[in-house]
């Protein structure tokens, strides 16, 4: 069994600690719609892997009587439904993070709500996940929400997709039913470009194939879910080829030290490497690579790699500030101020083309606007539509025009330099998640923005001063 064994803890704690120190981290997201039994599945994973303490179990025993939906047995879903407001409604609203560990790995689960109106919360959870577990109710098969969850997982770049066909107990643990769903899903996955999804028939309620192999489904030869999570090869998506360091902070404790701090988004860096700073194109050589340290002796290392948080010093005194990108001189990324992007809109207030927004990409905050919606995606049907506005939970391909040039990479190559959030200039709310597809050829920011003559500017000013009641906009604000 893959579950953490207590024996080593008791017999040789130092050996256990050594093992725990070297564990890998796997972050995954669970998605399913209301009543798919997602909370029960997670409760089951935590319960059966002995991550639940006695006092917590006692508390849910008490709560089961008040809010539970399982009658006499303990409602494991109550272990994970956190907020009072959620319990009252019996649904999950926000992403909740859960933790457990096995002998090999430490896991962080982002438990995300399934309902369409919480698509934004699912995208939040998916943005940091390596793997996605999508629940399907065996009785209902592939639903529109299954497609939505798959689409978002894929859009956010999750490469490992696990389809947990749940509630197998309610279809008599039927192999035929399982295969039917598998076929149905595969047809759709191919269309989306999802490669090799993994299928597991489970029952979260009874525990079949969650932690222990199911006796009721001897026909299934694959591992139970927990074992799969423990052994699935982690295709590490971290790019170690193309060095990118978005400068976060300049550390200047005294005149003799100027360190450029940041988290490496991709690639590796070595002492002596020739670097270029973007967008200024100034060049220098790396003098020191400094790892997180609390003493001078352990501070310097020969090299560092993504996703380490490091500090670099340079041989030359060149001007580098927050928002700049340090790259290797031999490997300069593309630069652009007009980009084709995918947007997941997350605010009640719809996105209006050509309104100004703040775009935060890595450590840059730049004013920008979406000059055009190329098409909106109906994520239930995958159909593309024309649109003038982008509303809450909608996804679209858009053209983004920035007030400044940035260096970037497509999101599918390097997440850290290819992703951004959209912030409202006035309310400061986070409005959207964005993923860069590619540079927009032929620079649309000029194409779509009319250039006004001096006469037109003067006329505009005249109208504004003489006829304020017309509420005419200033050309500069357009």
């Amino acid at each position: 069994m893959a579950v953490e064994q207590n024996t080593l803890i008791e017999s040789d704690i130092e050996a256990y600690l050594n093992q725990h120190e070297n564990k890998e981290l796997l972050r995954f997201i669970t998605c399913g719609s209301v009543d798919d039994g997602k909370s029960t599945l997670i409760g089951r994973l935590l319960h059966d892997s002995k991550m639940i303490f006695e006092d917590q179990l006692a508390a849910i025993n008490k709560d089961s009587k008040k809010h539970g939906t399982t009658g006499e047995t303990v409602d494991l879903a109550l272990l994970v439904d956190g907020l009072q407001s959620e319990r009252e409604q019996g649904i999950t609203i926000d992403v909740a993070y859960r933790f457990f560990a096995t002998d090999k790995r430490k896991f962080i689960i982002a438990d995300t709500p399934g309902h369409e109106q919480y698509t934004r919360n699912m995208a939040t959870g998916a943005s940091t996940a390596d793997l996605s577990i999508i629940l399907i109710d065996a009785r209902h098969g592939v639903q529109t929400q299954t497609k939505r969850h798959s689409y978002i997982s894929n859009l956010l770049g999750i490469n490992n997709i696990v389809i947990a066909v749940n509630k197998m107990d309610l279809v008599d643990f039927s192999e035929a039913r399982f295969n039917e769903i598998k076929e149905e899903y595969n047809a759709f996955a191919t269309e989306l470009g999802i490669e090799n999804p993994i299928f597991i028939p489970v029952s979260a309620l009874t525990g079949d194939n969650v932690v222990t192999a199911s006796e009721n489904m001897a026909w299934f030869s694959g591992p139970p879910l927990m074992e799969l999570l423990d052994t699935i090869p982690l295709t590490d998506m971290t790019d170690l080829e193309h060095f990118r360091l978005p400068v976060q902070y300049v550390n200047r404790p005294h005149l003799d030290f100027r360190g450029f701090c940041g988290s490496i988004a991709a690639g590796t860096i070595q002492k002596g490497d020739a670097i270029t700073v973007l967008p200024s194109f100034k060049t220098s050589t790396v003098k020191q690579v400094i790892q997180p340290a609390s003493s001078l002796e352990e501070m310097e290392v020969d090299s560092a790699f993504a996703p380490m948080a490091v500090t670099l010093t340079m041989e030359d005194e060149i001007d580098i500030s927050r928002g700049d990108m340090i790259v290797k001189s031999s490997d300069i990324p593309e630069m652009a101020d007009a980009l084709e992007v995918m947007l997941v809109w997350m605010d009640e207030k719809a996105m209006k083309p050509n309104s100004d927004y703040l775009i935060k990409r890595a450590t840059n905050v730049i004013t920008g606007r979406f000059t055009q919606i190329d098409h909106k995606v109906n994520i239930n049907t995958l159909e593309k539509h024309d649109a003038n506005l982008l509303e809450l939970n909608e996804i679209a391909q858009c053209q983004l025009s920035l007030n400044r040039m940035i260096s970037f990479d497509p999101y599918t190559s390097i997440k850290g330099t290819g992703s951004f959030i959209v912030i409202d200039k006035y309310t400061n709310a986070t409005l959207a998640a964005g993923m860069i597809l590619r540079k927009l050829e032929g620079d649309s920011s000029l194409k779509n923005q009319r250039v006004y003559s001096d006469f037109e500017k003067e006329l505009n000013a005249l109208v504004r001063t003489q006829f304020p009641e017309w509420q005419c906009k200033s050309i500069d604000e357009l």
Binding site: N6, I13, A59, A123
Partner: protein
């Protein structure tokens, strides 16, 4: 810790994530501060701050809300650490509450916590005008914590709105706020209790002695054992004190912090005990048990 084959262990990944968060805050905010509560999580947070800005000392002050009922050893430890690290230390006490003579023994845990801790914290935040405050809370501690963002937005009245949290994607944090509003920042969000202990062990981080088992004078109180730390404990209770070998799994106000019988005198022993125990960490804290959802309510009111 070693680095193998260009792959970070989970602890190294957590360390990198926490440092990224701290640097981001210092770069984007005008007046950040770190809420330092002297416990093991605060000790780890302080150590990470040192690492994030080394060779400079962390460029922000430490703030401690002193309820006046903390263990004496915690206060001595706090003052010593601040000096060693070279950071400014702000200590705030709710003077009104102190003048009222608020005591967990006479006023109960709920009222004491509300006046000396929650209100004290709000006063401190108003006084120091921090626009970002680091806190050592972890998502594995409690249900409402599990849903909190790393950057947790607070309105002018320091209130948390759980239904209206900003989406938080990748490691791209939105720290923008109006004057008077602030962000609580939790760099340890993704650490578990085991990660904290293991990191303390590997990095040799200093923590108060109260975490290690020792003969201490304890009394039975409120269904748990508490330590006699001074003579403000009612005399009839103090009279019942017995020396027992105990330690503390969390540190707070001594009348509200349950001791556990233990023989764990070293870090590996503490970790071993923690892993074999069947009771969660917060059980030792008397404040969460009033009713379910009570942490959620306290947080909405401005508690950390």
């Amino acid at each position: 810790m070693k680095i193998n084959n260009k792959k970070l262990t989970h602890l190294k990944k957590l360390e990198a994530e926490s440092i990224h968060i701290m640097r981001e805050v210092v770069a984007e905010f005008d007046n950040p501060g770190m809420l330092y509560s002297v416990g093991k999580d605060s000790s780890v947070m302080l150590h990470l701050a040192q690492k994030a800005f080394f060779p400079a000392p962390p460029p922000f002050p430490l703030a401690h809300v002193d309820t006046t009922w903390k263990f004496k050893e915690m206060i001595a430890f706090r003052d010593r650490r601040a000096k060693e690290v070279g950071m400014e230390l702000f200590v705030h006490i709710n003077q009104e509450g102190k003048d009222m003579g608020v005591s967990p023994f006479t006023h109960g845990s709920a009222m004491h916590t509300d006046i000396m801790k929650t209100q004290g914290l709000r006063q401190a935040l108003d006084k120091y005008q921090f626009d970002a405050v680091f806190g050592g809370a972890r998502r594995d501690e409690e249900k409402s914590r599990a849903k909190e963002r790393i950057y947790s937005f607070r309105d002018k009245n320091h209130r948390w709105d759980p239904k209206n949290q900003r989406p938080e994607l990748w490691d791209t944090y939105n720290g923008r706020h109006q004057k008077g509003e602030s962000i609580r920042v939790f760099p340890l969000s993704n650490w578990t209790e085991l990660d904290i202990w293991q990191y303390i062990y590997l990095e040799n981080i200093k923590i108060p002695d109260l975490y290690f088992a020792k003969e201490r004078p304890v009394v039975e109180y409120g269904g748990t054992k508490i330590m006699v730390d001074d003579d403000r404990m009612p005399e009839e209770l103090r009279k019942t004190a017995k020396m027992e070998k105990v330690r503390f799994r969390t540190l707070g106000c001594y009348p509200l912090t349950g001791a556990v019988a233990s023989n764990a005198e070293t870090l590996p022993e503490i970790i071993q005990e923690m892993l074999l125990t069947k009771v969660s960490e917060r059980q030792g804290r008397l404040i969460d048990h009033d009713e379910s959802g009570s942490m959620e309510k306290k947080k909405i009111e401005g508690y950390f």
